[in-house]
Subunit: 234 residues, 2 copies
DNA sequence: TTTGTTGTTGTGAATAATACACTTTTGTGC
DNA sequence: GCACAAAAGTGTATTATTCACAACAACAAA
């Protein structure tokens, strides 16, 4: 280490800082926007539901830590989308000491393929519809992070094509519309929706139809075209 | 400290993490969007220009640290706007050790009132037009932060009324337009601009005109109306 | 009073957003 | 095979919004 690092050395002494990564995981389950929560095994907030997360280790980046913790606590191993949301740095956020926490948002396309599991830190992991959240641990903090993430998601849905990353590989326009409706929390006109989506080339029809009740629907896949993306990770 | 903090204790052992706050300061100087940079006194990057910033202390939040460092390194004490941008958490960002850095953006309304000064850490502090930046310290990292901040600023100008926080308390519409043009880096039609700004009620005319060359211009002040603001700090 | 400089004002065309309801295609039960 | 249920698919008229574009007005200096 070169000279002139004296100030650095001084600052590194005498106190301890930890950084945590918290991850808001969204998926579209039974036509409802849903969030993955864990039931905490340890204090603070034993037995309460919380956003999955944990401390960053020495040899991993913030993003790596987010994905590792997510995998450890929930079994979720591959997600289609990861985006940093915000870093919370108030002095007394955590009773355990000086903890800074960076919140991430993850979007999952096929939640039914994920085997949720208990872990060292979490007694349980479970999907909750955004409209039926339980009381969360960590006072208002986790609730706020969650609502902030939802807000960001609405934004992204308006200005990018992230929505398709939450769909199955093959989907109908009606399904896609239901996802938009659950994220915006309001109804959308079918014709206007289709006009818009198709004019943006966000999706491509495939040579296949769905077979459900009623008239079969054209199936689509995600388009190759990427929308202009504004945030760093968007 | 309650029981069951064992994992926390384990993680806090054996390694050191520091968190830094970097601040991109924008002001509108001589019709040009400008950025405040400091000339580094210490390694790494001695003598090179860099975004002002420094390490967060034990007893201060991230935002407090950002503002304190800004004040220490540049003499800047009051800014009209502060917003968190992004947290960089790669493992080997900094030669001094594991450093995580949160970038902030600050907007200044009356840069000519600020007495820039040298400091412990900075030999010098100086405004640079965004189109005439010097080579920056810290490899590509600081340049990227800066360009990201500029991008974010463009966004904010489109969807909020932050622009007026960069103007003097009294300003003409032409001055405001010049600011928009310097941020967007393109020309704007005068008539359309005025129509838009006035229809949004972003500004209020005051009982005063400017006295420059040519026809006197109506002076305006910031409107009380706040635009809907989407990001956490926006 | 002329010239230079800047501020102020309006209109028409193109595009995008919104509101709105019926027909088509399939499967099922009689 | 016919009536019904269920969901998919489709078009048009109206209203906002955006954009391109140029003449005139107010003042100062010469």
């Amino acid at each position: 280490m070169p000279k002139n690092y004296s100030k650095f050395k001084k600052i590194t002494e005498n106190w301890k800082l930890l950084i945590a990564a918290d991850i808001v995981v969204f998926a579209f389950i039974e036509n409802k926007l849903s969030v993955l929560l864990v039931e905490r095994r340890y204090a603070p907030g034993i037995g309460q539901w919380a956003i999955p997360g944990g401390f960053v280790r020495e040899d991993e980046s913030l993003e790596e830590a987010a994905l590792r913790e997510l995998n450890e606590e929930t079994g979720l191993s591959r997600s289609s989308y990861l985006e940093q949301l915000y870093t919370f740095g108030e002095v007394k956020r955590d009773p355990r000491g000086r903890v800074i926490s960076t919140a991430y948002m993850v979007l999952v396309s096929e939640p039914e393929k994920i085997r949720l599991k208990a872990s060292d830190d979490a007694i349980n992991a479970k999907w909750f519809a955004i409209s039926g959240l339980p009381t969360l641990a960590f006072g208002k903090s986790h609730k706020e992070i969650l609502l902030y993430a939802w807000q960001r998601l609405k934004w992204k849905f308006e200005y990018t094509n992230v929505a398709v990353t939450m769909m199955h590989p093959e989907f109908t326009l009606t399904e896609l519309q239901k996802l938009y409706e659950s994220v915006y929390n309001k109804n959308i006109d079918k014709r206007n929706f289709r006009k818009k989506i198709l004019s943006l080339d966000l999706v491509e029809p495939i040579d296949k139809v769905s077979q459900e009740l009623g008239r079969p629907a054209q199936l689509y896949k995600a388009g190759t075209k990427k929308l202009k993306i504004y945030n760093r990770v968007i």
